[in-house]
Subunit: 539 residues, 2 copies
């Protein structure tokens, strides 16, 4: 089901009850970009610590916008022995709530936009019809502002902006507005004596409205209800209504209800995330770290500095997560699934020994055809992710005694995968552990190497050719981590010395002038300041 600002209010109940009745949920997000950093290899180094990776993603990815959110709810029907699914595809956009609300800026990355465009993404649905949202701070702030304004109006005090040295006296009316304000006073005085009930003042500027509020508050403390009204053309004018106490209360009550509704509308899509969070259901995603970070960042709070704090916030928002990319990369699936991208995983779990689950789309929902590709629409990706989870979970059931064909989201056999989020391209730490300390693999076989910027991976292979297979993790043009295959600590010292020797020999030859044959055409002017290469073990 496509959900935009137009049908969001009508759909919210459907969403909430789908979440409530579900056995588990699958989610996916589409973003306006992935990374605004210098280059991917520096951003996702194979030897990042979880802290470093979190800090990089927070710094370089959170200024993009999560603008499409896919949610697919899965409910197992025992009788039919099949899952009933309800897929939703939400378009999200931070439309400013009012003139004083924060004017959010976000980055677009042209490659990401171009990619989504090539997949048929509808940008108008985001930018013209996206559902607004507020994070928790913004929501609290708006509610407090509204509360405060109400209290002050009840006490006959102006809005907070009037608390200033001159607020007690009459409003200071600049010379050029005096005629205007005097005309207003005249009209209101006439209203109080004539038989009319309502006075519509002419549209005017915000500053003039402020002067009117101040003046009327000071001159006529009782018997009037003053309110700003917007015309269809978005012009704002002030309406003054003659009221007795009872009507005044009734009108204030109406205004309060209207404000509450407007506030709820402004909270918008965040209410879906609140519902998911409140349900405590298992939430499945594929390679979902960025999805989780963006979701918390946009709909809950700015991400904390510290990884440990992030883990705690995440566990509050999503008490139970499962990452299908991690699952597919872990035993017993690791050996069976060579490519863990969502598209490939989906293909593989359709083949033996996996079994495609029986799935039925609930009535009134768009039915996806997995044969007809629609990848990279968030709702569809969420759906596929859920299918992959079911197939893998059910496969685990085949090892039970007696074997089970259906494994629920609450089953013990999937528990080992809970709350571990896949870490992309880290050699020796497969996942971020949300509910405990992260793995701390030994890295004393890793060397930090610097070299001239003309060097390629093959030069590093050559430099270390005496020491067996190596793995190179580039940091930038002139440095990389080199992991040796031997991990025996004692040998390492020798290796470093040997490597240094190689470097030294090369340097010597360079100085002696026979660089041509040894350095393979590396011209003298290309030997940068980074020469000679240095080799240092990681601390």
């Amino acid at each position: 089901m496509e959900v935009t600002r137009q049908n969001f209010k009508d759909t919210l109940k459907t969403v909430c009850s789908a979440v409530e009745e579900a056995d588990f949920l699958a989610i996916d997000g589409e973003f306006s970009g992935i990374s605004d950093g210098p280059n991917v290899s520096a951003l996702t180094n194979g030897l990042d610590t979880p802290e470093q990776r979190y800090a990089k993603l927070k710094k370089h990815s959170m200024d993009f916008l999560l603008f499409q959110f896919g949610l697919c709810t899965f409910k197992y029907d025992q009788e039919k022995s099949k899952y009933i699914i309800k897929p939703f595809n939400f378009y999200v956009f931070p439309k400013p709530f009012n003139r004083t609300s924060p004017d959010l800026k976000f980055i677009c990355q042209s490659s990401s936009i171009d990619f989504l465009a090539s997949q048929g993404f509808d940008f108008n649905k985001v930018f013209c019809n996206g559902i607004p949202y507020l994070n928790q701070d913004e929501e609290v702030q708006l509610r407090e502002q509204s509360e405060e304004r109400r209290n002050q109006q009840a006490n006959g005090v102006g809005t907070p902006s009037f608390i200033s040295p001159s607020s007690k006296g009459p409003a200071h009316v600049p010379e050029e507005h005096k005629d205007f304000i005097n005309r207003v006073i005249g009209k209101v005085e006439a209203l109080l004596t004539n038989s009319e009930k309502t006075l519509d003042l002419e549209p005017c500027t915000g500053f003039q409205r402020k002067l009117i509020y101040q003046t009327l508050n000071w001159k006529f403390s009782k018997g009037l209800h003053v309110e700003t009204v917007e015309t269809e053309k978005k012009e704002r004018y002030i309406q003054v209504i003659k009221v007795d106490d009872e009507e005044r209360k009734r009108r204030e009550q109406q205004k309060r209800e209207r404000e509450q509704e407007e506030l709820n509308d402004a909270v918008g899509f965040s209410r879906v995330i609140h519902a998911i969070s409140k349900s405590g259901k298992l939430v499945v995603g594929h390679n979902m770290l960025l999805d989780v970070m963006h979701t918390i960042h946009q709909f809950y709070c700015p991400l904390p500095e510290d990884l440990q704090d992030f883990k705690e916030v995440t566990m509050c928002v999503f008490p139970r997560l499962l990452d299908t990319k991690l699952m597919a990369s872990t035993q017993p699936f690791k050996e069976m699934i060579t490519n863990t991208s969502l598209a490939e995983l989906e293909k593989q779990v359709k083949e033996a020994p996996f079994k495609s689950p029986q799935v039925e789309t609930a009535e009134g929902f768009h039915s996806y055809d997995t044969a007809q590709e629609q990848l990279h629409e968030a709702g569809y990706d969420a759906y596929i992710t859920g299918l992959c989870f079911i197939s893998m979970a059910n496969y685990l059931g085949s090892f039970l005694t007696p074997p089970k064909a259906y494994i629920s989201a609450h089953s013990k056999v999937v528990e080992p995968f809970f709350n571990k989020l896949f870490l992309m391209r880290i050699i020796d730490i497969p996942y971020l552990n949300l509910t405990g300390p992260d793995l701390q693999p030994k890295r004393d076989h890793v060397l930090f190497v610097t070299f001239p910027k003309e060097w390629k991976t093959s030069d590093l292979y050559q430099l270390f050719s005496a020491f067996g297979n190596i793995q190179v993790s580039w940091l930038d043009d002139t440095s990389a981590f080199v992991s040796l295959s031997q991990t025996d600590q004692v040998q390492i010292g020798d290796l470093i010395q040997a490597a240094m020797l190689v470097v030294f020999l090369r340097q010597e030859r360079t100085r002696r002038g026979d660089r041509e044959q040894d350095l393979g055409g590396l011209a003298e002017d290309r030997v940068s300041a980074a020469w000679p290469p240095s080799v240092v073990p990681l601390p």
Copy 2:
């Protein structure tokens, strides 16, 4: 005429000849945002110097994207006594040219996006079908890269990336790719002896293709043409063709032409700006400083640090500019036109003493109806801007002896408005002078005032109430410029002393504890560190 990537190539000639035949051009841009700075009042202070204003716009506005460019050409038809117009509305997007081209990031401001959405802006035309572009550096760099690659291939040397210590020898083939490369060698050896002419290798990764190029270059230096081909599914594979010298040359020539065409496609929309620039025609815009800055920034070069350098670059790109907002704000129009926004200006120049010009839309172009509003579509705004220019210019003609009903874009009477760009919200410097030094008005009646953050404009009026009318230019929460109406230097000293006295008295009373009645309810905990207010004349 709507121009997107789809019809750009077919339209370019029409655009160029429209520019060539025109008497003058009108332009307008739509952006993904206006300012990413803290707040508008701080960004456009009424007492900015031109240097400060330029620096602020450069810092806070250039990361947005100019994504719609309107151009309307105006050609006067003497016989018909009317203008023939050709309006174009270009959608522009920095689609990455290839995998190695820069992946541009740009900011979107939600209020701007929301505003355009409310005007019916079609974001899909930008993001899915926008015309790509390159600035001059990028173009030169791409052409050089292509040249270099060609030279190296002609000399039998690999691409620049192969110049590294190990480049002369055979490629270093990592263990896991050795089988793959050996199979390729086998196939190529077979090709050289069998009757086939062409060998299509299987699709493979970029790294594998690099290994293949290196290996084939080293092993088979003659008789082969090797090229990367892309399938419809965007998979890349290598094609090896058996060739004699003549065919090899022919194929290389074809490849060169293909590359040239691809390069021209990548330069894309910048070619329109080049054509406008080369024509030297008068270019008219409304409040056009940001349009000019964005145009130069996106399609020519990053903006220079220094305002003087910016003026010089601008005069190279647009040798003759005219800003209708400045024109409308200057004598004799200043007295006649109360609101110089484009929408209001357009209404006013339809009324006496102005005359609406006779205008005809050229055949094959969309005809705009000014009665039916389409404001904020760049092509339409450019058209309206041109109409306003004509009406105002013709009005100036009525003062000539004998009066002239038609004033051309080359007429002496419009010359005073050339190359002066309107400066928004600067009190005493109406325009940026592109061809000379800027105005340097005296500002010794201006005071720099700091105060507690609860203060409002009205408090400042009160503070200076003894000294006649003042003008307040806010800097931030706790500071502002206050311009006094008297400009007599000798009096100023007294005024400052008097203002300081007021401040001192207030402070004294605060200390004595009778703040309640004097400070009008300013609670003690709200008196911030900025108290007491200080008053300093501008240097």
